[in-house]
């Protein structure tokens, strides 16, 4: 670099000491250089002195603006500068919607499930209520029989149901469950059949065949027959239907099954059914249904329990004395009616009357057969109790796995949470990408407006 090029820097004092001394040496030898330096110095001072010093304006506005824009936490600036941070609002809103939408949808789903469960619970409750009514019905019959109120039972169960079509309808609607239960002999589950009548549809009682009203003395006779049958039954031991369920773990199914058969036969019973199989581990199993005379039921259960280790045992019992008594009483009453119809048929003069009486007679006989079969089944069940026996050989239990340590638990938990977070982030990311056409223009516009306002 020449001396001339450094003269301005020399004047400004921006040269190193070495270069400065070089320039000074050159100036001492050259008058023109000294003149140049002087001109530069004069010009430099002149520019500094002559340039107009402008009067600044806008300091107060700037200070006020600075006060307004004083750095504050973002969440405060969001409210104090909503327009400036419109893009943050837009992004927050979008993220909020992206996060809450699946939760709201899940909540709706839960509510729907809860609603359905509630409905089920309600219907369960109704069914339970119906069941309670069913269970009460035999008890009422029982108390009526034992408490000397057989007339009341006879009235609702016999007089109104069978003999009087008019009263039958009234009785069915009025007494509800007892009328229905007594009609069928066996209770049926569900609340709909108990005291609930649907307009336009015939009730259970109305669906029963109507019969011509017998004469007064015959009615009296029927009542007496029913009462006598009940009294006869109540004098006998109660009829119990008992079912036993027994699961026994034995050393060998092949040995235990014949032993169970021998035991049943020795007690006067028999094997109704039996089956044997192996499970997935080739462990032999056997299922047997044993019918044992009711008085020997306890003895059989005890004997079968000794075959091995009892894993589960349950016994259910049902007293059907009243039910059988009622059924048999009604059979007797219906037989009386049958005789009445036969007598009426013999006296019939017109063909229409004869045919009508014949129809009634057939219905009555049909009912008699049905009720006799019902009573027979109940008696049979009460005579021979049922024991369902499950035999299984002992299986070597697998060695229990050692409990995982705290590190494994913590690690698996962390991995699971990280996986969940990753899935959530991926979901949000996918939403952001897919919905980019919706939010990018908004954010871009907000950014552009912000830039424009600043610029």
């Amino acid at each position: 670099m020449t001396v001339m090029e450094d003269l301005k820097a020399y004047v400004d004092g921006e040269l190193s000491p070495a270069r400065r001394s070089e320039i000074e040496t050159a100036m001492e030898q050259d008058e023109a250089l000294r003149q140049e330096v002087e001109e530069i110095r004069v010009l430099s001072r002149l520019i500094g002195d002559c340039v107009v010093e402008l009067e600044p304006v806008g300091l107060s506005e700037t200070l006020a603006l600075l006060e307004r824009r004083k750095p504050r936490p973002l969440f405060i600036r969001l409210f104090t500068e909503p327009r400036r941070l419109a893009w943050v609002w837009a992004m927050s809103l979008f993220l909020l919607v992206a996060i809450l939408m699946p939760l709201v949808r899940r909540s709706d789903l839960d509510q729907s499930v809860a609603f359905n469960t509630g409905e089920t619970a309600s219907s369960d409750k109704a069914a339970a209520s119906g069941q309670a009514e069913i269970e009460k019905a035999p008890a009422r019959v029982q108390s009526g029989l034992s408490g000397g109120k057989s007339k009341a039972v006879s009235r609702s169960g016999v007089d109104e149901d069978v003999n009087s079509p008019d009263r039958q309808t009234k009785g069915s609607r009025g007494t509800g469950s007892s009328g229905y239960t007594m009609n069928n002999g066996t209770p049926s589950k569900g609340g709909a059949g108990f005291g609930i009548e649907i307009d336009g549809l015939p009730s259970q009682a109305e669906m029963q065949p109507t019969a011509p009203k017998p004469a007064g003395p015959a009615e009296h006779k029927q009542r007496e027959v029913a009462q006598r049958a009940t009294r006869q039954l109540l004098g006998q031991p109660p009829l119990l239907i008992r079912d036993g369920d027994l699961t026994v773990q034995v050393a060998s199914v092949k040995k235990a099954a014949p032993e169970a058969t021998t035991l049943a036969k020795s007690l006067g019973g028999y094997v109704e059914s039996s089956s044997s199989s192996s499970d997935e581990n080739d462990v032999p199993q056997a299922q047997m249904t044993l019918r044992i005379p009711e008085p020997k039921f306890d003895q059989a259960m005890t004997g079968l329990s000794k075959l091995g280790l009892v894993k589960s045992e349950s016994v259910t019992g049902q007293d059907v004395t009243a039910q059988v008594a009622d059924t048999e009483a009604r059979v007797k009453v219906l037989k009386t009616s049958e005789q009445s119809y036969i007598a009426m048929l013999a006296k019939a003069r017109k063909v229409d009357d004869a045919l009508s009486i014949r129809d009634r007679l057939d219905d009555v006989r049909q009912q008699i057969e049905s009720m006799e079969a019902q009573a027979k089944t109940l008696r049979d069940q009460a005579t021979y109790s049922t024991i369902t026996l499950a035999l299984a050989e002992k299986v070597e239990a697998p060695k229990p796995q050692p409990a995982p340590g705290w590190f494994d638990t913590a690690w698996s938990g962390a991995v699971e949470r990280a996986s969940g977070l990753g899935k959530w982030l991926a979901e949000v990311g996918m939403n952001l990408v897919l919905l980019a056409p919706a939010w990018v223009p908004i954010v871009g516009l907000a950014w552009w407006l912000g830039r424009r306002r600043r610029g």
Partner: protein
């Protein structure tokens, strides 16, 4: 030349205090680059930017250099957006103290000579001769090496003297 005192960098940086101290400097800097009309907005935006990035100021340079650097960028942005030309430099009508140096140069000739300079040359002349920045500070403000500032100043003065000589046959 304006007397600009080198200030120490305040530790408890308060943008309001900084603005009170340096607003005039920044305003004039902006006014000489983009004109008086846009200077207020540019100066205001300079301090708003400074407020936002104040936490990043590490004190490696003087505070005024840092502020002028922000102002320089702001002026470039404004002049680009608004397509503004660098305004001419106004000189005082009469000499302040009636010295010989001021009397021998015609004000009009000097004004024309300054305005003939290229924007780059005029910029370094303003930074050094008017705002009183050293070569290093001027280099930091406009983002070029100090050697470039030195070179530009040399050529600016060569051109100035040439213009003045053409106008009146030389200063002598």
């Amino acid at each position: 030349m304006q007397a600009v005192q080198e200030e120490s960098v305040p530790r408890g940086l308060d943008i309001a205090e900084i603005a009170k101290q340096h607003y005039a400097l920044v305003y004039r800097f902006c006014a000489r680059r983009i004109g008086v009309d846009a200077a207020q907005d540019a100066a205001q935006e300079t301090f708003l930017t400074a407020q936002r990035v104040l936490g990043k100021f590490r004190g490696d340079s003087a505070l005024r250099t840092w502020l002028l650097g922000i102002a320089h960028n702001e002026c470039r942005r404004v002049s680009r957006n608004r397509k503004l030309e660098m305004p001419g430099i106004d000189l005082k009508d009469a000499p302040t103290d009636g010295s010989f140096d001021q009397m021998i140069v015609d004000r009009h000739a000097l004004s024309e000579a300054l305005n003939k300079l290229s924007p780059e040359h005029r910029e370094v002349v303003l930074l050094h001769e008017v705002e009183g920045l050293s070569y290093d500070e001027a280099a930091a403000v406009i983002g070029v090496p100090a050697g470039t500032v030195k070179s530009r100043l040399h050529h600016a003065f060569v051109n100035l003297r040439k213009s003045l000589q053409e106008y009146s046959g030389g200063v002598r």
